[in-house]
């Protein structure tokens, strides 16, 4: 799965928009949307929100968690805890990117939010790397990681799997010789 696909999935998340046009309910496979009344908030998927926004047909209301105070709290939590804390949203990175790239004018303190989310992301990825490292160095058979988002899993998956495969190959070659205690060098 590449990031674009994950982003595609994230676009199904619901956000609130304030349309500036009037339209009756629209009936889609995924469910009914609308009706759209000018000035009245309505819930739509992100893909539609962005589309409307690009056509200047609406104003996007940022999700509840996309707020400087709340994100700061999350960041502190994330830094304090060793394990992963629940992310503000299962698609926090993707949504932040999408919304801030397309509708930063509708989101107060967009820059701060971008930084905060990046901080959270960095912290979490660092944790992930760390745990992968200890996972490999301790030669564990399995590990349990909670509260990871799809995007985070995807960033490490390809590399981690590839390297594990590679190590496996190397190890099986020198199986008879060395002990299992030694860390791999790749």
């Amino acid at each position: 799965m590449d990031p674009a696909e994950v982003e595609f999935l994230a676009e199904k998340e619901i956000v609130k928009i304030i349309p500036n046009f009037s339209l009756d309910k629209i009936y889609l496979i995924g469910g009914d949307l609308g009706p759209f009344n000018p000035g009245l908030p309505v819930q739509v998927p992100v893909w539609l929100a962005l589309n409307l926004k690009q056509r200047q047909k609406c104003r996007i209301l940022p999700p509840q968690w996309m707020d400087v105070d709340k994100l700061e709290e999350v960041r502190e939590m994330e830094r304090k805890e060793d394990s992963f804390t629940p992310p503000p949203s299962p698609y926090y990175m993707e949504l932040t990117k999408l919304l801030l790239n397309h509708a930063s004018d509708n989101i107060p303190k967009a820059d701060e939010i971008r930084t905060l989310v990046k901080d959270i992301w960095d912290t979490r990825i660092a944790k992930l790397r760390l745990s992968a490292d200890s996972f490999i160095s301790q030669q564990e058979a399995h590990a349990k990681l909670d509260n990871l988002t799809l995007m985070e899993i995807n960033t490490t998956r390809s590399f981690l799997l590839g390297s594990l495969n590679c190590m496996f190959k190397l190890r099986s070659n020198m199986q008879p010789g060395t002990s299992t205690g030694k860390g791999p060098d790749y």
């Binding site: 500036n20 047909k57 107060p108």
Partner: protein, 1128 residues
């Protein structure tokens, strides 16, 4: 007493505070536990300067431009004043300092600390310090001897110590305080006070009293106390003159004594009863600033000066009006300790002054001081009491001079001679609320909403860089957003689909202006400006559809077209509060008078400004919640007037209940916090939505970040909405209320969403049925009946079925009767409607049509519709020539409709082709337009006249006799059917081939002669024997007397039918039964006959519309009687 207690205001966050005045008295300086020192220019200063001095500030002192603070970082700091620049650290302790004080000259600072030490530091050179050791507990407070010789300090070890500064030795010590182990746990802050100027006395708060010690002898010379003060005194402060001593206590009592006479000259209570922990006199001695442990700052203003306090202590009757405010405000306190806390109860003063007054006297006085209802009687009391206390006073303070004596005893010589101001004790008038634009935020804000409505948002910016107006539309299809520079300084705005209306108040040079941006105009000029006459200010403005209204300070209301043409102008009965418009409706709310006790007295007018202007609501009072003011005024999207008051109650006009106002929602109920509000921007009836902006901690939203609209549901405040019954009742009445707009819309000629209406009605009926079932389950049959009365006829039948299935036969039977009644009512109504329709068809071109409906809907006044109808013929005549063709078609339309219902329209009477034919064929048949016109003129004339009782004589000759018998008919028929129902039920029904003839037969004997044609006209119905007979014999009757009128013919026929033998009649009836199956045949025959008859008669053409009319009513009766039978 004329001392004015200003309301408390937020100064610091919760916690210990201190306060002082600067040397000039220009600033109040406070510090608090938030570590800030704030410099207030006055109590009303909304933007005090803040200096941060640390995490917490415990105490401050200010003199000669040096601000000394004791902070939590164990230091005593200096800042320059008023700049607030740090000027170094004066001294340090091992824990934090608790109190700092300047000496009189400002050269030294004394600081007491929690590490048991007191330090005296030279301000100019902080290295010169004197340390006073000797306390065994944290120091509570310090104060300098004004002569700079001694220093007094109080400590938690319970002692108050006098130090000789230079020698750093204890002079004396009094163990008078309660011991504690820390400042925070001490009962009292024990701020000492050394009398300025003379330096004679040292005041020490000891419990709830103040001890005065004399300098040099260090003896306890006297005690100041007040029986109002029951809790420990925290602070004492001498007035700058040195004659008055103020004390503030735990529990918020503020007292001022005259130190010489030891009499209390002023008493106040903290408005919330918080402990006073800081207190300072204004250098002038006229004000006391004080702070409490909650961080608030308060001010006592207009204190008596020392001299006035001694010389003329105010007579009780001389009271400022606003003191009464305090009286009322403090009602609760008074209830607690009747009069104790009341500064203004004069009789109390002597009691307090001579604190050892005997109890008898006290008791004697108490009744007079408690709730004084009558000032007159009170004055009498006072006189009698003066003598008593005068004697007492003299006994006690015999050596005092007269002035002091007078001060202590309510000034016996001056009191009565003072001019008594007439005092008003009744309810107090409420200041009238200011005019406002619905959906706007206060005008003093730099960024504000000038209006927010269903079309868009107008924002006003008025700051340093920019004075502009932003117009934004919710729907960008209306118009793109606009940014206008606001050179004129507009403060009022309204927005509609067509235009933006702005107005500014008059300035010295410029008149008040009205500016309109008519963006929907199709010409190139999109803007116009109008100057109002000098001295007239725009107070409220509103945009309707194609017009604008402006209410001015001269209480006039000016109407303009949206293009700028001046139209009507009229006067309002009071100053305008707000206006709203929707389509052609204008809603004005104004001050009807003065409100009392917090209530507003508002009146409301609703005007219709269409082609036919009129007033729907004639300045009736606008109901508001208790002590509330109007907060929003508008129309629902469907056009029902609606408003919100400051208590958050949304009320809507109920047009079906005589234009009353029904509360439909209370927005406060959905608020989470106490200070949260909903700012209503729009109301919709279908779907039921209250669109509003949630505001946290305020009444209105800020412009940034852009607020989002939330939706609240409606909820009528019915009882017990938690129960199922209550819920359904609420739902039902809400639904009926919000359905009113359908009838209004249709009556004012708008298109109506029939589907929605039907759905609404269906929902209501379902609810009724549910409630019915519920009541049934609860065995409340009477209630069932009551519910059934609200149902439509068809649902009643359902209810009948339900009742009979659940074996409630009694109920079922009653319901059955009800169903019959309903059916008949329906029939009557339809008949009326039909008549009305005719009238209305005529009127359709004008909005007058509303009258008819209004009468039934609003029931407002019955005289108007009549007038309107009387006027019609005249106007009709004028219009006629133009509209003849259209009219004719319209005239015939209802006719056609009737035809649709009963495909063939047989009539017992001969009729010309013209009457019967398809209305569209009228022209096609080659008749000359003039001819049709003539007939149409007549048609309309008669039809219009018909409902008017006066219009009779000039009408058609044939009309009178035909109509009269028609009118009473439904009644008799109804009775007969009912009767028949009852009888037929009671008596066992005869076996009948068809249930229907039974009804006919029963009806037959009772039917008045002209009724027979009614039955005849129904081709679906089987005919009666008489009808058959009549058909057969009509010709012969006509031949006998050719010049008989139609009715006479029937009468004659009736007579001769009666004269037939019984057998004959029976045989006719039998025939009728037989024939009922094939009704077509005889009718055809009849028609032929009619045609034959009608042919030669020219005059018949004129009677046409009569026939038509009759036929219509006949049709309905026919339909309805069919209905009645089906029920069976």
């Amino acid at each position: 007493m004329p001392c004015e207690r200003k309301p408390m205001r937020y100064g610091h966050s919760e916690g210990h505070t201190d306060v002082t005045f600067d040397d000039t008295g220009k600033f109040i300086v406070t510090c608090g536990s938030d570590g800030d020192v704030r410099i207030w220019e006055s109590l009303d200063d909304d933007d005090p300067r803040s200096i941060n001095v640390g995490e917490k500030a415990y105490s401050l002192a200010l003199k000669k431009g040096k601000l000394v603070t004791a902070g939590s970082n164990n230091t005593v700091q200096i800042h320059t004043f008023p700049e607030g620049d740090p000027d170094g650290i004066l001294t340090r302790f091992t824990t934090h300092a608790t109190h700092v004080a300047f000496n009189h000259s400002g050269s030294r600072v004394a600081a007491g600390s929690s590490d048991f030490m007191v330090k005296v530091v030279e301000v100019a050179d902080s290295s010169q310090q004197k340390t006073l050791r000797g306390h065994d507990a944290p120091v509570l407070s310090v104060t300098f001897d004004p002569k700079d010789e001694f220093l007094a300090s109080a400590s938690c070890d319970g002692s108050v110590v006098i130090w000789k500064i230079d020698e750093q030795t204890k002079v004396t010590s009094w163990p008078v305080l309660q011991k504690s182990n820390d400042v925070s746990t001490a009962k009292s802050l024990c701020r000492l006070g050394w009398q300025p100027k003379t330096a004679k006395l040292l005041a020490v708060p000891v419990g709830s009293k103040v001890h005065l010690y004399e300098r040099d002898s260090w003896e306890h010379v006297s005690t100041l106390s007040d029986d109002m003060i029951t809790q420990p005194i925290n602070v004492v402060a001498w007035s700058p003159c040195g004659q008055l001593l103020a004390a503030g206590s735990v529990g918020g009592f503020l007292t001022v004594w005259n130190a010489e006479s030891k009499l209390c000259v002023e008493r106040q209570k903290h408005e919330k009863g918080y402990s006073v922990c800081g207190m300072a006199w204004h250098p002038s001695g006229r004000q006391i600033a004080y702070t409490d442990t909650q961080g608030s700052l308060g001010l006592l203003d207009d204190l008596p000066t020392a001299s006035s306090a001694t010389k003329t202590p105010k007579a009780p009757a001389v009271k400022a009006a606003n003191d009464y405010d305090d009286l009322f405000d403090e009602d609760d306190d008074r209830a607690m300790d009747e009069g104790l806390s009341d500064t203004h109860s004069p009789a109390k003063r002597p009691v307090a002054g001579g604190d050892d007054d005997d109890d008898d006297d006290d008791d004697h006085l108490m009744p007079a001081t408690g709730r004084v209802k009558n000032r007159g009687s009170f004055l009498d009391d006072e006189n009698s009491l003066d003598t008593v206390s005068l004697a007492l006073g003299q006994g006690k303070y015999g050596d005092d001079d007269d002035d002091a004596d007078a001060g202590g005893t309510v000034a016996p010589p001056t009191g009565p001679s003072l001019p008594l101001r007439p005092v008003y004790e009744g309810p107090l008038p409420t200041p009238p609320q200011k005019p406002f634009q619905p959906g706007s935020t206060p005008a003093h804000l730099t960024h504000r909403f000038m209006t927010w409505n269903s079309v868009g948002v107008v924002r006003g910016y008025n700051d340093d860089q920019d004075n502009a107006v932003d117009v934004e539309f919710h729907d960008t299809a209306v118009h793109h957003a606009m940014h206008l520079t606001n050179a004129l300084g507009h403060t009022l705005a309204d927005l509609s689909q067509e235009a933006v209306l702005l107005a500014c108040p008059a300035t010295d040079e410029l008149a008040s202006k009205l500016q309109c941006l008519h963006f929907s105009s199709w010409d190139a000029n999109k803007e116009w400006i109008v100057d109002l006459p000098a001295g007239e200010d725009v107070r409220a403005l509103v945009l309707g559809q194609g017009w604008a209204a402006v209410a001015t300070s001269a209480r006039t209301l000016r109407l303009f077209t949206v293009g700028g043409v001046q139209k009507e102008i009229f006067s309002l009965p009071g100053h305008v509060v707000s206006m709203a418009a929707h389509g052609e409706q204008l809603l004005v709310v104004y001050h009807r008078g003065t409100g009392f006790d917090g209530d507003q007295a508002l009146g409301v007018q609703l005007l219709q400004l269409g082609r036919r202007k009129r007033q729907v609501i004639h300045g009736e009072p606008l109901p508001l919640s208790c002590k509330a003011h109007l907060a929003w005024l508008g129309f629902t999207a469907e056009g029902t007037p609606c408003y919100v008051d400051s208590e958050g109650v949304v009320r809507m006009l109920n047009r079906s209940l005589g234009n009353t106002w029904t509360p439909v929602c209370n927005t406060r109920e959905t608020c989470k916090g106490k200070s949260d509000h909903f700012w209503v921007v729009a109301v919709h009836e279908n779907p039921q939505q209250l669109r509003c902006i949630p505001c946290k901690g305020s009444r209105y939203p800020p412009t940034l970040p852009r607020p989002a609209v939330a939706i609240l549901p409606f909820k009528l405040p019915l009882c017990q909405t938690t129960t199922e019954k209550g819920q359904m009742e609420e739902q039902y009445w809400r639904s009926t209320l919000l359905q009113n707009h359908y009838s209004f819309l249709s009556s004012s000629g708008y298109e109506v969403d029939d589907e929605g209406q039907n759905q609404n009605q269906k929902e209501q009926q379902e609810l009724l049925m549910k409630m019915f079932a519920l009541s049934c389950k609860l065995e409340r049959e009477f209630r069932c009946m009551e519910l059934a009365e609200l149902m439509t006829q068809s649902v009643v039948t359902l209810a009948v079925r339900y009742a009979s299935r659940s074996r409630r036969m009694n109920l079922a039977q009653r319901l059955n009767e009800l169903a019959m009644e309903k059916a008949n009512q329906l029939q009557e109504e339809q008949e009326e409607e039909q008549e009305e329709v005719e009238v209305q068809e005529e009127e359709q071109r004008t909005p007058r049509s509303r009258y008819g409906q209004r009468e039934s809907a609003g029931g407002h006044s019955s005289s108007r519709p009549h007038q309107a109808r009387e006027e019609e013929p005249r106007e009709e005549g004028e219009d006629e020539s133009l509209e003849a063709d259209g009219e004719s078609r319209k005239r015939l339309n209802p006719f056609a409709r009737g035809a649709a219902a009963s495909p063939e329209k047989p009539s017992p009477k001969p009729m010309s082709k013209e009457g019967r034919v398809n209305p569209f064929k009228v022209q096609g048949s080659g008749k000359s337009p003039s001819q049709s016109r003539v007939s149409n003129v007549l048609d309309s004339m008669t039809s219009v006249r018909r409902p008017v009782p006066l219009g009779g004589p000039s009408g058609k000759q044939s009309k009178g006799p035909v109509l009269k018998p028609l009118a009473p008919k439904p009644k008799t028929k109804m009775q007969s059917t009912l009767l028949q129902m009852a009888t037929s039920k009671a008596a066992n029904k005869k076996a009948q081939v068809n249930p229907e003839p039974a009804a006919d037969r029963l009806k037959q004997p009772e039917v008045p002669p002209p009724d027979s044609p009614v039955e005849d006209s129904e081709n679906k119905k089987p005919r009666t024997g008489f009808q058959l007979w009549l058909e057969e014999n009509r010709k012969s009757i006509l031949a006998d007397s050719p010049d008989l009128q139609e009715t006479d013919v029937i009468k004659a026929a009736m007579g001769s039918f009666r004269s037939l033998s019984a057998e004959d009649r029976l045989s006719w009836t039998e025939r009728a039964k037989g024939q009922s199956a094939e009704a077509g045949d005889p009718k055809k025959r009849k028609r032929v006959a009619e045609a034959g008859e009608g042919d030669g008669e020219e005059s018949r053409a004129k009677a046409d519309e009569n026939i038509a009319k009759k036929k219509k009513s006949l049709d309905t009766t026919a339909k309805l009687s069919a209905f009645a039978f089906n029920k069976n």
